[in-house]
Subunit: 149 residues, 6 copies
């Protein structure tokens, strides 16, 4: 049996993208105790490539992921794609089906399992709006992707 | 332009499924102020039909949705399916691809937009674990579906 | 039990896109009796965004859908996407997978159920050809999407 | 350039599944002039396998398709799957996602192109209802699949 | 029962894309004995349209497929799409989800079944790499599509 | 830049499932030189769950994957699902859409990249037949999935 720590890496990532500025301060201290690494950012586009790229770039610049190591980039990439599937729900497409997103993203890296051998994992959480490319014609959307590194 | 209220119906639903018991008390008072209706529940299965059915049943029993009115059931059904796509990320399948879920779910109904004419919407949030049918061989998963009623 | 009227809104929409000019006259008088509102149009492109946009624009210009009301645009949008899935059968893509469409579309709005409380619904029907971007290298295709408004 | 005959094989199939009993008589004489072969049937299930099987069986029994010849069965099978995608719009699933269908189906075989070398093609059309496994909680659905034989 | 020849058309196509230059010579003599026709090529792009187009063009130029006959182009097109699904595993997309491919492709045409009436079939095999648009950040990928002509 | 070794782990896995018994002997000596670990097996079913399970069980019994370590099981699971997508090309389903498979599978584990830090990866290759549940009414199919461990 694989024992999981109290607070999952995915819940942590989701709470980061959902947090108000006050809640964010509290979460940051939580994460230091858990020795999780993370980065936060925003991205908005009708072009899915830009969304994927914004998350990858943030994770690399904040040294969450080693950009020279393909296994780390591969782990992050599939976690991003999984999160994007929650956001797009059915067709992994934005502009092609005439819609746009405005998203906050969080990338969290750490050891979520009590067993040390389970090693490091990465979580990508997305939260924001999706809708027509007309301000206000939009509703909320979210996604979570998780992978071992 | 469609103005949105401070706290989205989707964020509300996600926070309900992510909440610890302490956080839950706080959220419940939030929701009364917003005049949102909601229900919370748990479901776990290798059979996707049971997951869909558990959420539908809870929403009907708690009078979030009028079960005799197809337009309400239809709105809820598509919101559930969208949330399930976030959970399954690619194939809307559980047992068929040898995996199982343990999920908390929230169904929230209300008027998330400032413009009264936008009427009522429903949000379905899911959070829990997905993995092999062996305890512990699992990671977190989440999904959010939103629809007008 | 929800009783449905004799002629469904979807059948009406499909017959509109399949009709010859003679048949069209007959259908138009049918629809007046049913108090359905509708619009008809044509669109052809390798760019799926243009297909979605053409249908949305026609529905707005013909006052089938209130463009300022997101709940109506949202209902139409998902009905369009469902119809497009019938046309594309598997990948919601045109030019990216080297194919083009020439389509007639119909958007029909009204009350298809006998129970007044079921309110208004929208049907989007598509019929035409899909194939290589070379005239004649194509076969027929169709799709139907239905949603509550 | 490949010239197509006045009435497509797909339109023919769609009109067969949409027809009232009066319209059906008229269509049948149309089809004799076009030398198209066809069969018509009904199927209803929460089990997608039964839907596929009902259409295959009808096509074999009515000698639309030679059941001993794999190339014919293969052509029909893919046409059925394409039609089913129009019916299910996104997930090729029924009971697993808690829904059921009641469908009329038509299988039409013949030469839709003016150029004799284009040979025979098959069209599968589906029309009926999809929804919750409770009578009346359902809306219309349709699909069309086309393949060369 | 349909008897298949010793060496399948799909295995033949896969071995062609996997072969080193030495192995290729051996395979070429195999194929002459089997009276299979084939062509081989390379394509690399972030643009899926170019991948589809490169394979179609090679098959036409090498007279594997008659480009004036839609039924042959249709058979090839669906075989290509099926092979591409093996390469992309889930979303039939490249640049849109920030990835690129470098592929060898083989198109093989012939009669793989002992029963003469089963006629001609086409196989499309793909093998190469998929990954980020940065040299080396990639892993292998493959796909196989088969259709009757 | 990440340098790859001469023979990829995916090519190795594909050649194992395509090999005749003579070719297999040769491949086995190749693999010893490359220090790749692998296992080979067969599985046939209309039930996708059995296919996934057969591959997982073989990988565990042959000690390719440590069954107590979730990160290894997770890596294998996603590689299997990716390979299955090549086999099913569009809908990750067998019996539900009235088809069955007979497959050979190979699981290969090792270090395919020259850079030691890239660590271990796993490849799952599938090759066999897919078709109607009637002997002979089937054609070839293949899939390849690759993941970091
Ligand atoms: Mg996973
Ligand atoms: Mg929506
Ligand atoms: Mg619906
Ligand atoms: Mg086609
Ligand atoms: Mg096939
Ligand atoms: Mg990968």
């Amino acid at each position: 049996m694989v024992e999981q720590q109290n607070k999952g890496i995915g819940k942590q990532a989701l709470q980061l993208v959902l947090a108000s500025s006050d809640e964010l301060e509290e979460l940051k201290s939580d994460m230091e105790q858990l020795t999780y690494q993370y980065c936060l950012g925003k991205t908005g586009s009708m072009d899915l490539q830009k969304v994927v790229s914004a998350i990858e770039t943030a994770a690399k610049r904040n040294h969450i992921i080693k950009e020279k190591l393909y296994r780390e980039m591969h782990a992050l990439y599939h976690a991003i794609l999984e999160a994007v599937q929650g956001v797009t729900r059915g067709q992994v497409q934005l502009g092609d089906v005439m819609r746009t997103v405005g998203l906050r993203f969080a990338v969290v890296r750490g050891k979520p399992y009590a067993n040390e051998d389970e090693g490091e994992w990465v979580a990508v959480a997305l939260y924001g709006t999706i809708g027509a490319p007309i301000r206000g014609l939009e509703h909320e959307t979210a996604g979570l992707g998780i992978n071992h590194i």
